[in-house]
Assembly symmetry: C2
Homo-oligomer: 248 residues x 2
């Protein structure tokens, strides 16, 4: 039914919603509280698609008719200002829901940063599922509250912290996001460009670049390869992000 659910020739689990078996959404996302029966139903109503980097999942103002879960990959959510500047309102990682809103149209663009796999569901179908599985609606609300709290946190970062403190906070949020998805790692995927990070933090890309260079020179981080960071001195980054200038 779909090209992704059987990478191993000997997949013995295909009787129980095989599509969902290794989806991040079961760990941290929408589908976490569902039993096998519900997963079966969801997987039969949803469609998996795969899209290349830089493609738009949807645009601000499009009728909000579909809901997505990011199975694999990275995405950014952006709002455009009339003068052309953009604000990144959030990044999304494997397992995260993208595009759920009660509004008639999406309030932001969603663009993939990497080649990705998505689980797509019609809004009407999701609403039906929400009605049939109260746990799902509750989960939806939980995720919304989580996201709201994260956005308020971001508001604090953008509103009150210095440039370097913002970049440090961003790196720490990457750690947090990675922890949500699996065991803690010191080397993290960071597929966003300096410009993306700048648009997230309310800075220019030059300032982001300078901050990261400064961290590198202080030995706090390393960038072994493009789009990957190693956080060496987490306490220092935390202290900087918190505004606690006295080093510990």
């Amino acid at each position: 039914m779909n090209p992704f659910d059987a990478p191993h020739p000997t997949n013995e689990l295909k009787a129980t919603a095989p599509v969902c078996d290794r989806c991040g959404s079961r760990v941290a996302g929408l589908c976490q509280p569902l039993d096998i029966a519900a997963l079966d139903e969801i997987s039969s109503e949803s469609q998996q698609t795969s899209m290349p980097a830089h493609s738009m999942v949807f645009r601000e103002g499009d009728p909000a008719g579909k809901v997505f879960t990011l199975i694999e990959g990275f995405a950014k959510l952006t709002r455009l200002l009339p003068d052309g500047k953009q604000q990144v309102v959030g990044f999304r990682f494997a397992g995260d829901v993208i595009g759920y809103t009660t509004l008639p149209s999406y309030p932001f663009d969603a663009e993939l940063l990497t080649d990705s796999r998505l689980c797509r569901l019609e809004r009407g179908q999701l609403d039906g599922l929400l009605r049939r599985y109260p746990k799902l609606e509750r989960r939806m609300l939980d995720l919304c509250v989580q996201e709201l709290t994260a956005t308020q946190e971001q508001l604090v970062t953008v509103g009150r912290r210095s440039a370097e403190a913002r970049v440090a906070a961003f790196l720490l949020s990457l750690v947090e996001a990675s922890r949500r998805r699996g065991p803690p790692r010191t080397v993290l995927e960071m597929p966003m460009t300096r410009a993306d990070i700048a648009d997230f933090l309310g800075l220019t890309l030059e300032t982001v670049s300078r901050s990261l260079t400064a961290f590198r020179k202080r030995g706090w981080i390393r960038e072994p390869v493009h789009h990957r960071v190693e956080l060496i001195n987490l306490p220092a980054l935390s202290a900087l992000a918190e505004g606690t200038s006295d080093n510990g």
Copy 2:
């Protein structure tokens, strides 16, 4: 049962949830989709209280055991940084819900800006109501999505707009909030201090003061009395907030 529901000696409606009859929550808030029976139940489980200006409804970190609806008055929600600076993450107006979260503790302070009246409900009671009235849970989700969208909007304002554009956007958001509560007015309540506004917009109180003075000198606004603004030239304010520097 409570001192507020019968200001007129001749109240003939007291048989049908009299407490809720004139509450803003029925117009724009949580209780909007409820019928008389549900309102009766809610009003019997909730308690009305009245609190003076500058009192704290709850503090960041307090166990999130209660949910409030602001019946009358104004409140600000703030997060504190380790270095003492504060970020106002939002203002709340009559009819708005305050303090609903699925987290174990409140993620921000809630402080009243004016003498206010509040409707208080135990979190457990609300959860019970949510189970009995699916419409209510749906409404909760709607409100959360609305708030998330507003917070993202605020992120754009703080992240990408100039000081004067932020202040203009703030004034326009006051108009929006007042429109939610009733017929459009040109003279608006603005009970927050310059410092509050600054902490909301990621500016200093001096910059806010200078911006408002500039607007006044251009004839765009008037401040007939303390804590009240009249918006005279809405198009100019909108243009400035949008970053459209070419005046129309």
